[in-house]
């Protein structure tokens, strides 16, 4: 049911973990649905230098998390903010229809982390 790209990112997820002194952290989803994604950011000079994730969820949830970290690294936060869940799914050559809803939230988690970064650094 999953594309080869999904299976690749799921079985060898990139950038798993936490960033100890992350300057932005975002979390979306909830345990009730079975999907929680947490993104840690290291932003320097408006550029995403490092991203890490932790995810509780199905294959699609882990693969989209992994993919979004790859897509975000090196981007400015403005560029990262226009990244969509849809774009992540496309970068994985698509997701099964049933997974498009709950498990495709990685870009949302990234945006939450950027929001958190902005809030902390607007002061």
């Amino acid at each position: 049911m999953y594309t080869d790209k999904v299976m690749d990112h799921f079985s060898n997820p990139r950038n798993v973990g936490e960033i100890e002194n992350a300057n932005g952290v975002g979390e979306v989803g909830n345990a009730s649905c079975g999907d929680i994604m947490k993104i840690y950011l290291q932003v320097e000079d408006n550029i995403i230098k490092d991203v890490k994730f932790k995810t509780f969820g199905c294959g699609a949830a882990i693969a989209t998390s992994s993919m979004v970290t790859e897509m975000a690294i090196g981007k400015t936060i403005e560029e990262a903010l226009i990244l969509t869940n849809q774009a992540v799914a496309e970068a994985l050559d698509g997701l099964p229809p049933a997974k498009m809803h709950c498990s495709n939230l990685a870009a949302d988690a990234l945006h939450e982390a950027i929001k958190d970064y902005k809030e902390k650094h607007s002061a």
Partner: protein, 408 residues
């Protein structure tokens, strides 16, 4: 890579003897058993032989066996057919919160038609309170439907005791015996059951065939209207090869029952003890006493990990199991069985079922016990719930909203 199949409660491989017995009925003895001529006569005897084999497994008379297409059809037929036949007597049905969807959704459909359904609660071990059951009976109760054994955690229900209660109160008793068949003895007469359903593909027969025991004299409405097959009780041309296969599978199940029970039980117990002793924070789901569960079934929750991910990582090692997580349940909520036992939501999403068969070997279990701990650890390291200090967000309005009708 070795393939290790531990999902026998989902479906089983067709046994070689079963397929061999079926083969002549596709291209050579292909007749319709309702036909008068040689092509029909050739196969009608085969159907009657299978009927005896099925009857022997359940300890009933062949005339009490009706062939169907699947276990779901049997549950639909038993419940809707009883509702129709007995609606003049009452409109109340008693079942449990842990039945298969084939029972639960059928009951939910009847609720829309004015029937009232009591869904008996289970305790944290998944067991019923028989006093609850007895006091749920009213003078409007027309049916008690309790599964013989549960597909997800393997609990075996006290069918004989329930049969006595049903008999005492003169209420019809249906049991979904789909998971019990072939794993534990089924004696429908001894247990005072009126209707019991079994499904071929759970016992080494092919998919697409099932059988129902209908006690002599039990009035029941039709479910499948049409031709006069099965003495007017089911329409549709007989699935001759499937029925022949079901017969042989029942005979094999009966003759190997004890031997398979102890063989499979030994492997399951080893797997159970191995997992519980080598991996921390694992919850056993179902009755803690392994005697009270099907000998082949083990259901555990690997805390902090969502079930589908686990299954996919197991799968990379060739290990096939199943999960009660929402992602694999076909609905947007995790298993209603876990919910009914009060298993908390994360653990419900983490629940994993290993269901063994007589083809499994001790080496396979050793392999699984060796591969599991690192997979679990790796996924836990990836989980934002593992070693978490702040509480995890739990509720989701959206998924509650789109939730489907299975009652809890």
């Amino acid at each position: 890579m070795n393939k290790i199949y531990l999902d026998n409660n989902a479906t089983t491989a067709v046994k070689k003897e079963v397929l061999d017995a079926m083969l002549p009925y596709f291209c050579e003895q292909f007749g319709n058993p309702s036909s008068v001529h040689w092509a029909g006569r050739m196969v009608s005897g085969a159907i009657e032989k299978a009927r005896e084999q099925v009857a022997d497994l359940m300890n009933c008379s062949p005339a009490e066996v009706i062939f169907l297409s699947c276990g779901s059809e049997g549950d639909n037929h038993a419940i809707k057919g009883t509702a129709e036949a007995l609606k003049h007597k009452g409109n109340h049905i008693i079942t449990t919160a842990v039945e298969h969807p084939a029972v639960l959704e059928t009951c939910a459909a009847l609720e829309k038609d004015g029937f009232e359904v009591t869904y008996l609660k289970v305790d944290k071990d998944g067991m019923l309170d028989l006093q609850d059951l007895e006091s749920a009976i009213t003078d409007k109760t027309i049916l008690i439907s309790v599964m013989w054994a549960n597909n997800e955690m393997g609990n075996i229900y006290p069918i004989k005791e329930i049969g006595e209660i049903a008999k005492k109160h003169k209420v019809r008793f249906h049991t979904d015996a789909v998971q019990a068949a072939g794993k534990i003895p089924l004696d429908v007469r001894d247990a005072n059951v009126d209707i019991a359903v079994i499904s071929g593909h759970k016992i080494g027969a092919p998919k697409g065939v099932a059988a129902m025991y209908l006690k002599r004299g039990t009035k029941i409405g039709r479910f499948m209207h049409g031709g006069h097959q099965e003495r007017n009780r089911r329409a549709g041309t007989h699935n001759v090869p499937g029925i022949v296969g079901l017969g042989v599978a029942c005979e094999l199940a009966r003759t190997h029952l004890e031997e398979n029970y102890s063989y499979v039980r030994k492997l399951r117990d080893k797997l159970e003890q191995g997992i519980l002793s080598s991996i921390p924070e694992v919850k056993l789901n179902g009755h803690p006493n392994p005697d009270m569960r099907l000998p082949n079934t083990l259901n555990v929750s690997f805390n902090y990990i969502e079930g589908e991910s686990l299954l996919l990582f197991f799968d990379m090692k060739g290990i096939a199991a199943s999960s009660g997580s929402a992602c694999t349940s076909g609905s947007l909520e995790p298993s209603h069985v876990m919910g009914a036992m009060g298993v908390e939501i994360v653990l419900a999403h983490s629940s994993t079922r290993f269901s063994l068969g007589a083809d499994n070997t001790e080496e396979e279990i050793d392999f699984v016990l060796q591969e599991l701990p690192p997979i679990v650890q790796r996924l836990r390291e990836m989980s934002p719930l593992y070693n978490r200090t702040d509480p995890a967000p739990l509720t989701c309005d959206e998924c509650r909203m789109v939730t489907i009708t299975v009652p809890h």
